[in-house]
């Protein structure tokens, strides 16, 4: 029993969850955040082994911005290349509410089976 199966399961789960978490992070904060900051917040929040690599955050941010759920602006930085700061849009908030609802339903459904109350 190696953990390649565990990794694959985690990866499949993350496909949609990373986007949900990113929307939630940007919804909760009043300031605009750039990729590195967001990645660090996620890292601090994870207990033990992080659930996903921080490198996967950036392409999802870009995809969300391309779909109009986030807006972004570029700010010059001393530490390196100019940073791209993200902010959630009204469309993004609407999608977040919808997705949170789906997440709660899914979690409740899965838990009922795993904990064996629904057999």
């Amino acid at each position: 029993m190696d953990d390649s199966q565990a990794r694959k399961f985690q990866k499949d789960l993350n496909a949609g969850l990373v986007a949900l978490v990113l929307l939630a992070v940007l919804d909760r904060t009043s300031e605009d955040l750039y990729g590195y900051e967001i990645a660090k917040r996620l890292q601090r929040a994870s207990e033990g082994e992080p659930l996903f690599k921080e490198g996967t955050v950036y392409p999802v941010l870009r995809a969300l911005a391309a779909e109009g759920l986030l807006t972004s602006r570029i700010v010059p930085s001393y530490a390196g290349p100019p940073r791209r700061y993200y902010r959630i849009t009204d469309d993004g908030r609407a999608v977040l509410r919808q997705w949170s609802e789906i997440w709660h339903r899914t979690r409740g459904f899965v838990d009922r089976f795993i904990e064996g109350t629904e057999l």
């Binding site: 496909a15 750039y34 990729g35 590195y36 990645a39 890292q43 992080p50 690599k53 921080e54 490198g55 996967t56 950036y58 392409p59 999802v60 870009r62 995809a63 391309a66 779909e67 570029i74 930085s77 530490a79 390196g80 290349p81 100019p82 940073r83 791209r84």
Partner: protein
């Protein structure tokens, strides 16, 4: 490749670029940009440690180059499926050759492409002027101390314009172009930065593109205006002919189309005009789409850095 873990930011980016080989150059540019933002921020956050030590940590937090490359590949594939290729109205009814031929009038990209052809004269003149003026002033200033900041500002401006041009072309054709500027690299001295710009193939191909835009713009504009006026003119010729027969114009004008006299065969002549006018305009729309597609390929070759 995973055998040798990267020991520096440059090495990491080189490996990431290798792992993305064969992908869209615009995607590669974005991925390198994002990674560099993270890596430099991370190195800056660990001020006491060496770059090599920080990169060792990064393999477990940010991900190895291959993992990051896989994430970009996967996300870009999803995004392209979701929104990069909006369903074309013509695709809904691919039925007949006629449908395909005239379906071009339902394709928003055809109209955008036509506007691009009409606009290209103006942008061509502007780009050409910027490139030639900037280049000649740079050469003239080269012996003075202000030549250095001027050259830097000039090349920086061409990169910003090139990014804008890419965004415009992506909007028109749907072909992916970079969404981020190429970032200038690690902080370096002015001289090192200038030397790098002079050595960078893209600096020169961008200027070449700007210069080329003038003749191309003239060509696109002329072709578009000629066909547009010919098509509209022929289409409305029957009205003019009717006006002539009503005595609106001097009576010695005899309208003929393809050798058919309007006075003798008004219906046949009108029909020929309508068919010819619609044909010319339809061909123009197809031509505009083809020109925009060809042009974006040229722009990609000259404005976007090749991966590898």
């Amino acid at each position: 490749m995973s055998a040798s873990a990267p020991r520096s930011i440059d090495e990491y980016l080189k490996q990431l670029r290798a792992a993305l080989e064969g992908e869209d150059p615009a995607l590669i540019q974005d991925a390198l940009y994002d990674s560099e933002e993270y890596l430099r921020s991370e190195v800056a956050a660990h001020a006491g440690k060496s770059e090599g030590d920080v990169l060792e940590l990064i393999a477990s937090t940010y991900g190895a180059p291959e993992e990051v490359a896989a994430a970009y590949r996967a996300t870009d594939a999803q995004v392209s499926k979701a929104l990069r290729t909006p369903p074309r109205p013509t695709a809904a009814a691919p039925a007949s050759a006629w449908g395909k031929f005239f379906g071009v009038f339902l394709d928003p990209r055809a109209y955008l492409s036509l506007s691009f052809m009409l606009l290209s004269l103006a942008t061509g003149i502007i780009y050409f002027t910027i490139a030639i003026t900037g280049l000649s002033i740079s050469v003239g200033f080269a012996i003075l101390i202000i030549g250095v900041p001027f050259f830097l500002a000039f090349i920086g401006a061409t990169r910003v314009i090139a990014l804008g041009e890419g965004r415009l072309l992506e909007a028109i054709t749907g072909e992916r172009m970079p969404r981020r500027p190429v970032h200038p690299g690690p902080p370096a001295t002015l001289w090192a930065r200038i030397a790098e710009m002079l050595k960078d193939r893209r600096t020169w191909t961008t200027l070449l593109y700007f210069v080329l835009m003038l003749p191309l713009g003239v060509l696109y504009f002329s072709v578009a205006v000629t066909l547009l006026s010919a098509g509209v003119g022929v289409l409305f010729a029957p009205l003019a002919a009717a006006g002539a027969s009503l005595g609106w114009f001097p009576s010695d004008i005899h309208a003929t189309v393809a050798g058919i006299d309007f006075d003798q065969y008004p219906l046949v002549a009108t029909l020929v005009c309508l068919v010819l006018g619609v044909l010319i305009l339809t061909l123009l729309m197809h031509l505009a789409r083809a020109v925009a597609r060809g042009h974006v390929r040229l722009a990609k070759a000259l404005l976007v850095e090749r991966g590898a």
